[in-house]
Symmetry: D2
Subunit: 375 residues, 4 copies
């Protein structure tokens, strides 16, 4: 066993996603044979105290209250951005300028134009990039893709995808940064981007779309329990008709007011010889139907994640024991590091993040113009 090269991580942000990334690094290094030895080198947050506390908690060697310190740190090979998406553009461009690989949360940027600049910069610099569409990393989604690619369910005809949660369902939930139009949109940009990513990952490029986005809760308290309200300018729900380049068609939906839904990242894919059903609320299961099963014995099979579904086995040698949400981040970390090491990148990289952002932006335009748009 040769000594691996150290690979230093500089993390910006230590909230929901920052912590999830930190867990991803910690787990990835234990379950996978990574191309590098991960060094949790430096953690930045909005002030030194917070950053220090987070660094201790999450196992980083050093901390800083100024994210720009990461740019100059020689031990930092890659910068991992888990801040709100309005900050991604500036940080990523700076990271790339400093020669760092970039791992960035989704959505990539508020606008496709910004995202494009980020792609161009990274590609010009020859740096690896990764965007945190973590649901794509699920072994059950990999299984879905394998089933599709192998032709097991025939030619794909139709897709139905949704990403619905209820974290914005309460009209008394106060106005927050997610509602700022500067972020590029509402439910569609925030969670609709996930289902767009899944649709592209599994079925392929979208060639045209027609969208309908809507604000359901038109004003919200400026803060909890306060009478003063502020207008909401972004969408609560978005629906999209799509045509895929391969001839398939479908619908996508994003909804952050779907009362009772906690993580309904669901898809249904119908082919000429079978079908696949999935819900992220039961992320360790995939349902598969084969028309060729014999008469009287046909039905959707509930397949539980098992070692034969790569890379589940890295986490657990026994089937049905289940991986969790944070484990998806560990797979994402592995894929990022393999991309850095020059393997065939599994993505989604910045280019893919940009393609998704283009679709988000196009969907908003389609809805505003009330017409189909080519991609």
């Amino acid at each position: 066993m040769t000594q691996k090269r150290k690979f230093g991580i500089g993390l910006i942000g230590s909230g929901f996603m920052g912590k999830s990334h930190a867990l991803g690094f910690a787990t990835a290094r234990r379950v996978f044979d990574l191309p590098f030895e991960i060094d949790l080198a430096l953690l930045a947050d909005i002030n030194a105290t917070l950053a220090d506390r987070a660094a201790r908690a999450l196992g980083f060697r050093r901390s800083t209250g100024d994210w720009r310190d990461l740019l100059a740190a020689p031990e930092v090979d890659a910068i991992d951005i888990t801040t709100p998406n309005t900050l991604h553009h500036e940080m990523a461009l700076a990271a790339i300028a400093a020669g760092k690989h970039v791992y960035c949360e989704k959505p990539l940027a508020p606008t496709a134009a910004q995202a494009k600049e980020m792609v161009d910069a990274a590609e010009a610099a020859g740096l690896a990039t990764q965007v945190g569409f973590n649901y794509l990393k699920n072994p059950m989604v990999a299984l879905a893709k394998q089933i599709i690619v192998s032709g097991e369910i025939g030619e794909i005809r139709t897709f139905r995808g949704i990403h619905a949660e209820d974290y914005m369902a309460d009209p008394q939930a106060p106005w927050i940064w997610r509602l700022d139009p500067a972020g590029g949109g509402g439910a569609l940009a925030d969670i609709g981007s996930h289902i767009l990513a899944t649709a592209r990952h599994l079925v392929g490029p979208i060639s045209s779309l027609m969208a309908d986005v809507q604000t359901l809760i038109r004003e919200r308290p400026v803060s909890t329990g306060v009478a003063e309200s502020r207008a909401v300018e972004v969408d609560d729900v978005a629906r999209i008709f799509v045509r895929f380049a391969n001839g398939a068609s479908g619908t996508l939906e994003a909804n952050w007011t779907a009362m009772g839904r906690k993580m309904q990242h669901d898809f249904e894919i119908y082919g000429s010889k079978g079908a696949i059903l999935f819900t992220q609320e039961r992320l360790n299961e995939l349902q598969v139907y084969y028309a060729e099963d014999r008469t009287g014995r046909r039905g959707f099979r509930t397949v539980f994640a098992a070692p034969e579904h790569e890379p589940y086995g890295a986490f657990c040698v026994a089937p049905g024991h289940q991986i969790g949400f944070n484990d998806l981040k560990a797979i994402e970390v592995r894929d990022f590091l393999e991309a850095v090491a020059g393997g065939s990148p599994k993505g989604p990289d910045f280019r893919e993040g940009y393609e998704i952002q283009r679709l988000v932006q196009l969907a908003y335009r389609s809805s505003a113009e009330k017409r189909w748009l080519d991609v």
Copy 2:
């Protein structure tokens, strides 16, 4: 117990739906206290032999090979039409002209114009009408409506409905009458009308829509195992964005090529205080979520049909024992007879059948013109 007046039924057709209606009559008279004594008087089918055999099997007193014989039969109070929908218009108008009440399978007619003539004739004659959108008769759908109307889940915000089956999924399945454009359309007209009916029943009138219909299998063998093929001119899949008059919005879908789906008449309804989920594949269950349930104990409740869900108790005094598809027809029969008897009609009557047909037609136009249309 006073003797009830006899009410004679003349049934046209004895196929899938004809048999289901006959079972509906036989069951309805045993489980409900109907306003009339049902007399299964006369059954018509395309020839005398077939009609005779069906009459014996289904318990009708007489039979005929000519449906027009029903018009003149004095013992026939209502004509029940279960033939393909291209025949509904002529038969219903003749029945109305003969002073008979009319119970007709869905969709009401191939065109909204024909449906309108049928409504006008029936209303002018003061006759009762019923259209066989039987899924509306499910006690669990009645429960959903009760939950919505009572305000238990607050203001309705979004609706997602689908009616998907796979009976046309096999490209080798031969061309059949259902594919004849003269019938008014394909999947949308045939099964999409069901989900439109459900959407209107539960959420109310639709004020505007934008549709996308598509033919997925563009040609089919002229008959089983034959090389010669015939072009398919009607839709296999249809998706619709809708705005309801009450401000809610949603999507509807019809798909008869959804491999693996047998009876996916599903809906999800999200309100400001809760949500409802339903699938016809488990027709004796409704899932309900209440945001007001206390923290840590919230979740969709799986409610099984029980005697407290009217009229389940008429079929069975014990909960969870389950009613079947044909039992829905028995409820429809009851509602029709109560409408005849002058009670407040539960519908859907011809007017409602026409409204649904207008939506079907409008959706085809919207898709062709690629734009939103007001209803």
Copy 3:
């Protein structure tokens, strides 16, 4: 089409089960090609008024307040007994003495000795008998049996069966006739007999057993809202270890205090090559697992009842539309009439009812003696 011989039915009882049988006859004659033309000849109930009303409602030609009138009625070919089980013995013996075929609700009799007399009398007289263990009539149970018999899931190793409901779960639910020890027992006799019937039907004879029965609610109000209470002497829950003659082993349970359970007649059957799961709460589904399915694609298939699952197709030509509880009775009616007509009887006949009753009685003895008993 030749004219069929009329076959007169004399029904005793018009409560829950009486009505269900009446629906069974009405449906059976419409969906099956029966060997006879059913004549709903005579209905008996505890007084003339009640019987008259029931006869009108359920479609019987005549009624009587004295069940013994059925014995002498020449138009009655078979007597159908749906009264409480303490009355079965006397009624069935009288029916047999009168030369009538007998269709009797379960459990056959309070004691195995009584049941044996009934078997002996019926067999000596050469009359057909049927016992109402209706869950055996489900096309999905027939599918389970077909899967087992065909060897598809290999040699059967273990069985887990339960029949749980909650109709006695409330301690304030008053004392009722079901709690009278004269009826032969409590939950085990009442609903445990169903799961014993299923176990024998699917896996075969039981060779030895060890039981544990228990009274959970030791006293109940004498009637609703009354302070006075009465001791409960029968079991609320029963558990049984079993060995089957074919070498398989298993557990059975009956529980009528299982809060939240409405119709949990469930079984799990594990074989050397696969497994089957079923719950009566979703009676139109069967889950099947095949170990031979290829790696990575194994999982329980949810098979929906479809025309290929005999006799579902008699009720509906389309899959997934679902039959209901009362439809199971229609299948039972068919099987009874075919047994009368001399076909190979599908049962369960009185002999089978007696075998089940023996097991019930043996289980009570095993629990009292706290030891294994051979059957």
Copy 4:
């Protein structure tokens, strides 16, 4: 933020469970505010090469091929034993003698006598102990316990528990160490101990039991693909009737040949006012039924794990995102360290491990003697 005291871990074993523990430590330190700073000090495995590789992979500072090296290492505060259970006794006693706290995989030891020695030694030495019945650590199991303890579902009446998998279902699966009677038994000892732990955790002490254990596959190949076979002397399936000290009763089952089952650690708990259902195959869900919900709206609620279900929120701030199997180990690690730090121990400690082992042993005796035994 004060500097925490370092707490050194010495891990023995790096297989399935060793890796899971290592992940547990890595995650626990990032998600919880632990009383100590974890130091992954020393890892032992059966030889130096294997141990070295594992130490690098799992993030331990040093490694050794001799587990006894851990005893003398001053930086090791606790020894974590993940070896086969025949080795637990010797290792734990040595660890205790060396003054180390002990964290040990389940089952605690092959015999209750050995387990008792381990308890006595640990208690005499005043050291903290933890046994790896990790399913108890699930926030959903904690929720179940909270619901029971609070009285929300009333007095507990009945329990049904099972732990079934299929890893020994194939008769061609070769003889392995798990089948060695020296290990203390088969399916009951291996996985039945899990469901015994759950039963005790949720319902309380068992006062008497009656068991039935059975070997289903009586011989197996000595190794894969070899004709020579070896007799199997341990149980494949075990069923137990139990009486709890609080008056509740129930059944437990263990089965490692249940074809199709991957992680069926399921329980059903029925109380006088409600019920709870759980399956480990969907570990982030709990189903709860309240009899007091209003008529027509009662049903099992599917509650998804959420931040309000402690300690789910430590892993993820959003509901429904799901934790995985290895995360349960992180919670176990936290509980162990808190016990070390002198908080009220959440267990299961060695005493509890011993109580479970006594039940395992008693169940074997009960089955052999075919009689009920008091605990």
